[in-house]
Symmetry: D2
Subunit: 127 residues, 4 copies
């Protein structure tokens, strides 16, 4: 049975081929489309407090799900055109992130990693 990512990627590829849309699906255009959809997703949370954003109504959640779908579908289409495996890329990035944000430094802090490492230096026992 194919992985969901591959299943969706095949469906998007076929969708584009049937409509002769491959000509429009340059990586440049797909990255724009992805960013536009990410903006539409974000719009749902724009004037909500963080707490409100954690407590969406079912109707609102369904609308958000549709925007999430758009983002995922363009992301998979971009990966297909560029021949990048999204799951492999994500696994690699998780390893990088684990090094950037060691638990003992990052715990409970949202600072960017550069600040994390600076503040470690600053707080070090000079001895």
């Amino acid at each position: 049975m194919p992985d969901a990512l591959h299943e969706l990627q095949s469906a998007m590829r076929q969708f584009a081929q049937e409509r002769d849309w491959e000509q429009f699906h340059s990586p440049k255009n797909l990255a724009m489309a992805l960013s536009i959809e990410a903006g539409e997703l974000m719009e749902h949370f724009q004037w909500l407090t963080e707490t409100q954003s954690r407590n969406l109504s079912d109707e609102h959640k369904a609308q958000v799900g549709t925007e999430i779908a758009d983002v995922l579908l363009y992301l998979l289409r971009l990966c297909d055109v560029l021949q990048i495996d999204p799951a492999d890329a994500a696994r690699g990035k998780l390893l990088i992130n684990a090094k950037k944000y060691p638990v003992e430094l990052a715990k409970g802090r949202s600072d960017k990693y550069s600040h994390l490492h600076e503040s470690r230096t600053a707080g070090e026992d000079p001895a």
Copy 2:
């Protein structure tokens, strides 16, 4: 064997839990993070022609893969927090898109679906 989407989602959840980052991971903040990463992804194509964007060097493609990973990981984290299944959402959206963009109308055209349907109306034989 778990699906790649679920495997990555679990890894992100554990990553956040270990760092006590769940407090920062409101849907509002995660949607912002996703949009910011989508902008960083797009930045790689900003001044390229569409043709250039189809012909990235291996080095450039690796950098793009890292940005794709960031987008995917935040997307999965957002889905986890909201309890939305991304693959189900995407399957549902593909069905909607197939209705919005019927092959016979959309073939070779990049118009938004509202324009597609308008132009069909405009071009219809009034008889």
Copy 3:
């Protein structure tokens, strides 16, 4: 004395001409650049609470100012290339917004205008 908007627009035009960058400054590319810079601006607020975002340090505010500058400069460059007057466009939009969000309906509410008008209908005295 020229208006600040025109002064900055002229400076950007000259900057582009001197570097032979007009070839890269298509409206499509400039709109991408603007969106990317807007993402970088937003990044400064990503993990802050709303309250924290209202109380930036001077250092942080200076960084934010630099991102604001990037957004404004690309916006003015886009207006120049498209021959759109940004102040006139903004004045026109303010009039539209005043109609969309009448004070008596919008007061203290962040709902999108379509919801405002729906809720007015719903709450209207049928008499």
Copy 4:
């Protein structure tokens, strides 16, 4: 006579005050709003070629003008809340850009400035 930037900024401030919207206008929320509007602006160019984006119809240009207005108005509102002067910030950034992209290096090239300086180093006469 006030500068257009200050005139529009005052109008936006009054608009927000009359509607009791200052509570929603945290810098965090305004930066999100700005980024969302930048996405809507970009959407107009998403599937156009660069050449097409240089040749918009009058109707399309008017629509683009409305999106540009939204971006500018949120930018000015953000500057007002943060007490940042947008024209001063932009003047400062133009000076920085002039140093980053010297004419003799940047002419006809869209490379990021880091690459510009690298390639200068690479091409230097080793003597």
